[in-house]
């Protein structure tokens, strides 16, 4: 599936490891939460980065102690109308101070791209066949925002006297 980061479609170096098989010694792996919690310290011996796939029912505090070892967290939108992952992302970025890659997966659409950026997502796994140009233009639709303390490059009322802000790349 195409992966968008910083406005470009990029190759996905990460591999999802979903079965019970032993972990390969190399490569960047995305583990389900259960597996990550189970492997714990054994991950330190691997060459390659570790990521975790969190369901949108998970409490992000479950990975608080592991965050420093994680280079990727994926959060899920089973349907774009199910907005739990927005709050999970926000909690990861602000409450827990996570600064690694935060990837949106599932029903990820350009109409919501700006919102996702603003709560802290920085990569987007999209379905095949979506128009990349629509994705690139999406953040330009609304460049202004009222909410303070959110990310994503939108210009907020309180941070500038100018109403003309540059649009961020997705």
């Amino acid at each position: 599936m195409p992966l968008i980061r910083n406005g470009d479609v990029i190759a996905d170096s990460w591999v999802r490891h979903e079965d019970d098989a032993p972990l390969p010694a190399d490569g960047d792996l995305i583990l389900p939460l259960e597996r990550l919690l189970h492997e714990g310290t054994q991950l330190a011996g691997r060459r390659g980065l570790t990521g975790v796939q969190l369901a949108n029912t998970a409490d992000v505090e479950e990975i608080e102690s592991l965050l420093s070892c994680l280079a990727l967290v994926t959060l899920e939108f089973p349907a774009f109308t199910d907005g739990r992952a927005y709050s999970q992302a926000r909690q990861l970025r602000t409450k827990l101070g996570y600064s690694g890659e935060l990837r949106a997966t599932g029903n990820v659409l350009p109409d919501q791209a700006a919102f996702m950026r603003r709560v802290g997502f920085d990569s987007f796994e999209i379905a095949c066949g979506q128009d990349i140009e629509t994705w690139k233009n999406a953040p330009r639709a609304i460049s202004l925002a009222y909410q303070r303390g959110y990310e994503g490059g939108a210009v907020t009322r309180y941070e500038t006297n100018s109403a003309c802000g540059a649009s961020p790349a997705i």
Partner: protein, 551 residues
Amino acid sequence: MYRYDEFDARFVRQRVSQFRNQVERRIEGELSEEEFRPLRLMNGLYLQLHAYMLRVAIPYGTLNSAQMRQLAAIAEKYDKGYGHFTTRQNIQYNWPKLSDVPDILDDLADVEMHAIQTSGNCIRNVTADHWAGVAADEVADPRPYAELIRQWSSLHPEFSFLPRKFKIAVTGAAADRAAIAFHDIGLRIKKNDAGETGFEILAGGGMGRTPLIAAPVRDWLPGEDLLAYLEAIMRVYNLHGRRDNKYKARIKILVRELGADEFTRQVEEEFARIDAPQVVPPEQELARISAYFAAPEYQDLPDDDPVHAKAIAEDAAFAAWASASVERHRVPGYAIVNISLKPVGGVPGDATAEQMRAVADLAEKYSLDEIRVTHEQNLVLPNVRKKDIHAVWQQLMEHALASANIGKATDIISCPGLDYCGLATARSIPIAQEISTRLGDDARQNEIGGLKIKISGCINACGHHHAGHIGILGLEKAGEEFYQVTLGGSGDENASIGEIIGPGFSGEEITDTVETIIDTYIGLRDDGETFLDAYRRIGPEPFKEAIYATH
């Protein structure tokens, strides 16, 4: 009144142009109706029984004359010459064409209005006491905070895909005219002993199929923490509100299932970890907004006006209307004038373009350019000099806007029901019209006194029947409409949920039933006792006996 600055204006224009693009993609077939649906709902556009319906936000029910004239112009240009004021201080147009909607939104933006978040599972148009800023019993004006919430909730990145819709109401007075206990979040402004402004916070109230009175969450929150605390409540709800069942998805169910104490604990824990200075607007922002709501230049007038007193003494019809419609203003010599949109036998909340213009003219000439829309589907001229009231009344009469029934039996709240709404299970407007016609005689209404009849055409309760002194809920069984009656509901500071009185009634029986209930009350009331007080004293039994004995 609040005025857009360059930022607000650009924000709304960007939203219009984004929506124009979405409408074009729909018309060209790039978006299916299924894909378009959540997008249009984010902007107040419903697909109803016969046509699209556009709901336009009137934030906290405040309008100026230019805005009201634009609402009239839109009704004429894009609709059938009228609009419908709703129980959430909005206006709905029932017949717009999809391709016209972006143009309507541009016309609205011309007068600093929009349809952002008037539907969808997001934070809806914030409502407030319709007498904000002028009520004699007010502690503080709720409008600056309501405007702050409007801005903060507009296209909120985190809270635009909630489990279900979310409604916030604010009052700044002891008497609750905003029905805060029936909202997802209800806010009451208070002052502490040091004179500081803060909030009492309620959460988890609502109507629908599971009516619940909101639980107290905080007795005192310092004013500057408001948005951080709202963020905490919204986050707990967004993460934990049920999404498996649409009918259990409102925050009221979460609060009930967790218990108010546990819900509050979770909110407080989240609140404690929010970096408030990072998220709340700087102090000067509230000051900037508040400046727009500074009291207008009132004249220094004696409270008693001889012209007004003489008109009351000499003109009985005027006196009757004034007694129902005119309320005490906090400034001597001024009055709050309520305008009924409930002509006897008419459609509750409807106004023609011509009536809207008439109200706009009156506001400009006599009410310091201000109009309010109430959740009871009426209008208000909040700043009328007492000496002008008679002239206002004469002009209202010319436009069929002078019904002397505010707060009385024919001041009925009704949802659109099966005449328009795709969700309705029964007609509600025709029932409201029939009851209104039956009870419409002035002497009869005066005999009955203060009474709130509220009618919903389905379980979603848009007509607020749970909060009606007499509530009527239209349902359908085996293709037949029937009407369930509740008694004793109230949306004020002593909020209560009406109790179902027994088996329902057919459309032919319901008006007789209402009249029997009223006659029972009149027969049993103490001197000066209102319907609600009498019901609370004597309970449902005498009413049950009266209405079911005849069956």
